[in-house]
């Protein structure tokens, strides 16, 4: 059983909603990432999504685009990101870490080398935004062999037929994109999201996380009433824009925000 499965199993038993923050590795500086990951866990994160910086993040809105540029400005490479996870694992052996990124840096390293290094570093899941299941066979075989879960996006445009295709390949959980759009944008249509989650549950027994556009405890609660977990990215990444050389201040800001989301989500479980 993978670390992601175990985590969702214990969440399910305790009735707790999963909280999955996203940050871009190396944004804005290298040595903030690991302490930030620990702080997020302390503030109530159940899993962590770690973005691999890429020069052309096609599915991301302006906030995460800038995060990618900041991380690349000082040369954050996939090797560096793997090292960060290795460091994180020295103090935290239980919180699942999911890599989120684009295919080209992974291809450049080579599938075999990447998957082996990811397992050694302690990566639990991989979400490659621009790698649909139809093109993922070769990589997924390697991931399955090493107990790394391929995580897939489902969107408002995903047909029931595609949900079947995706659910055959997906492990760990599925990630429902709550909007038609890029990360960090738009108003949410809660009725559509609820309907979609119900539809998804007819095609897969995996837990459903929801993300894109969740930027406040209020939105997290509305989503958390139906989803197993909420993913929060741009709202956290936006806080890196105020870095100004003061790591602790940014970490405190992220922690404070996640605490407020955690409290709000816990209120659902109790009610």
């Amino acid at each position: 059983m993978s670390r992601i499965e175990k985590r969702f199993e214990s969440l399910g038993k305790s009735g707790r909603k999963g909280l999955i923050p996203f940050i871009t590795a190396g944004d804005p500086v290298t040595d903030i990432t690991v302490p930030l990951m620990h702080a997020m866990v302390d503030a109530g994160a159940d899993l962590i999504e770690l973005g691999i910086p890429f020069s052309d993040p096609m599915a991301d809105g302006p906030v995460i685009q800038k995060a990618n540029q900041r991380a690349l400005a000082h040369g954050t490479s996939l090797h560096d990101v793997l090292d960060m996870v290795k460091q994180f694992r020295r103090k935290d052996a239980t919180t699942p870490v999911i890599f989120m990124g684009y295919l080209n840096p992974v291809e450049a390293m080579g599938y075999d080398e990447f998957v082996e290094a990811a397992q050694q570093a302690g990566i639990d899941g991989l979400l490659v935004v621009d790698l649909p299941p139809e093109e993922a066979g070769e990589l997924n075989e390697l991931l399955y062999q090493r107990d790394i879960d391929p995580v897939y996006l489902l969107s408002p445009t995903t047909t029931p037929q595609r949900m079947e295709i995706v659910s055959l390949e997906a492990r760990g959980f599925v990630y429902y994109v709550s909007i038609r759009g890029v990360t960090g944008s738009a108003e949410l249509d809660y009725d559509e999201i609820q309907q979609s989650i119900n539809e998804i549950r007819q095609h897969t027994r995996l837990p459903v996380g929801v993300g894109f556009g969740i930027n406040s405890p209020e939105r997290a609660v509305k989503i958390g009433q139906h989803a197993d977990a909420v993913v929060i990215g741009s709202a956290i990444v936006k806080m890196m824009e105020n870095y100004n050389g003061d790591k602790q201040r940014v970490i405190n800001a992220v922690s404070g925000f996640l605490h407020s989301v955690r409290d709000a989500l816990d209120a659902i479980s109790k009610s």
Binding site: M58, A59, N104, T157, R180
Partner: protein
């Protein structure tokens, strides 16, 4: 040898091509593939496409025997005059085709990316004619170096959005157009201007551009009495080149040369020649040759010509390179400038800087083919848009 039948059902040209996009775009792409496969065989659609090409674009474009250039370079050189099309380049062939598809799919809004501005102008043109809303994404740097085309698009009623992210050129414009499409998939048709992007774009754009090669093949048989020894075309994304090459692919004796932008020189690293110097990777929805660093980050490209300033290339060219069917070479900025001046002075034709790269390589190729050798150069566009760039390089104030 069996007839060429690329791509496969999922858009693969050997190991290249495919569909590498976020989930939200999978269904729109499937819808587009279904529409394209249906209408490309539909007699009414094809009739409307042919009529538009004839009466609106002005096709067939002439195949012109360039006597002066032939004498100077030492081979029989024919020019396929795509510069004479309405809007001044081959780009309009494809935008007509895709706009007709957009109309049949009931889309009210068209978006496009553009580098040199030729595809943007061609898209704004068809949108104006069909009464569709049009938004063109263009790198902020390209907006500066192609001001006349920006103004043309605005006159035609398009909104031109400056893209400030990344390297502020064509690749970033393509990223931004993809983001727009993801956000407005219900009412928007994305007209990609080259044979890159996810399936079905590389095959669809090729099929709309193949009119170039079909005409040229027939014209050279009429005018020269035989097939040419070689075809020459510039390659950025590669749409004009594939348009010329494709109808000749099963003619084994016809050699094909795609000319990339060598910028300051292939050895300097300042170029836009992924087929000559790149690595295989995934960008903008397909697997192909790319300009990238050892970490898989896309690197900035350089070319005098905005239309060739792109770090990727259509996956079919990647396949034609690996299979050996086509040859890919490169011409530097200064070689392209020489080609530009040669053809301008010897033929009275001012070519686009993109097409000047093909002219530059034809000089080298002519020496190999010899006086009786026949080649067709795709003169993909006219050079009016580049006059300011040329003047600046030549140190002339206008």
């Amino acid at each position: 040898m069996s007839a060429y039948s690329m791509p496969d059902k999922k858009g693969h040209f050997g190991r290249f091509g495919g569909i590498f996009v976020a989930e939200t775009l999978m269904r729109p792409l499937e819808e587009l593939t279904n529409a394209y496969e249906k209408y490309i065989k539909d007699p009414d659609f094809l009739q409307e496409f042919d009529d538009d090409l004839k009466y609106y674009v002005g096709r067939p474009s002439p195949l012109y025997y360039a006597a002066g250039l032939s004498r100077q370079y030492g081979a029989q050189i024919y020019l396929k005059r795509e510069d004479l099309n309405h809007t001044g380049a081959h780009k309009i062939n494809n935008t007509i085709g895709q706009a007709l598809l957009a109309k049949r799919l009931g889309k009210s809004r068209i978006i496009a990316e553009t580098g040199a501005g030729q595809h943007g102008v061609a898209t704004a043109t068809v949108a104006a004619r069909l009464g569709l809303e049009c938004v063109v994404y263009m790198g902020a740097d390209d907006i500066e170096r192609q001001a006349p085309n920006v103004y043309r698009m605005k006159l035609l009623g398009a909104s031109v959005v400056a893209v400030e992210s990344g390297s502020r050129t064509l690749k970033d414009a393509l990223n931004e157009a993809m983001r727009d499409w993801v956000t407005h998939v219900d009412n928007t048709f994305y007209i990609i201007g080259t044979v890159a992007g996810p399936h079905p774009y590389p095959a669809m754009v090729r099929d709309f551009q193949a009119v170039i090669g079909r005409e040229a093949r027939q014209q050279i048989l009429e005018q020269a009495g035989r097939l040419p020894d070689a075809l020459v075309a510039c390659v950025g994304g590669g749409s004009n080149a594939i348009g010329l090459f494709y109808p000749f692919i099963d003619d084994d004796a016809v050699a094909m040369y795609g000319v990339e932008a060598a910028g300051d020189g292939l050895a300097t690293g300042h170029h836009a020649a992924p087929l000559c110097k790149g690595k295989v990777g995934v960008l903008h929805g397909n697997r192909t040759y790319l300009m990238e660093d050892t970490n898989g980050q896309i690197t900035e490209t350089h070319s005098i010509s905005a239309g060739l300033d792109y770090p990727g290339v259509g996956p079919e060219h990647a396949w034609l390179k690996d299979s050996g069917r086509a040859n890919y070479v490169a011409a530097t900025d200064s070689e392209a400038m020489s080609g530009f001046h040669d053809i301008t002075r010897l033929e009275g034709i001012i070519p686009a800087l993109e097409s000047s790269h093909a002219v530059a390589y034809s000089k080298i190729l002519a020496a190999e083919l010899g006086k009786e050798g026949i080649m067709i150069i795709n003169l993909s566009g006219r050079g009016d848009k580049d006059i300011q760039t040329i003047a600046r390089i030549d140190g002339v104030e206008i």
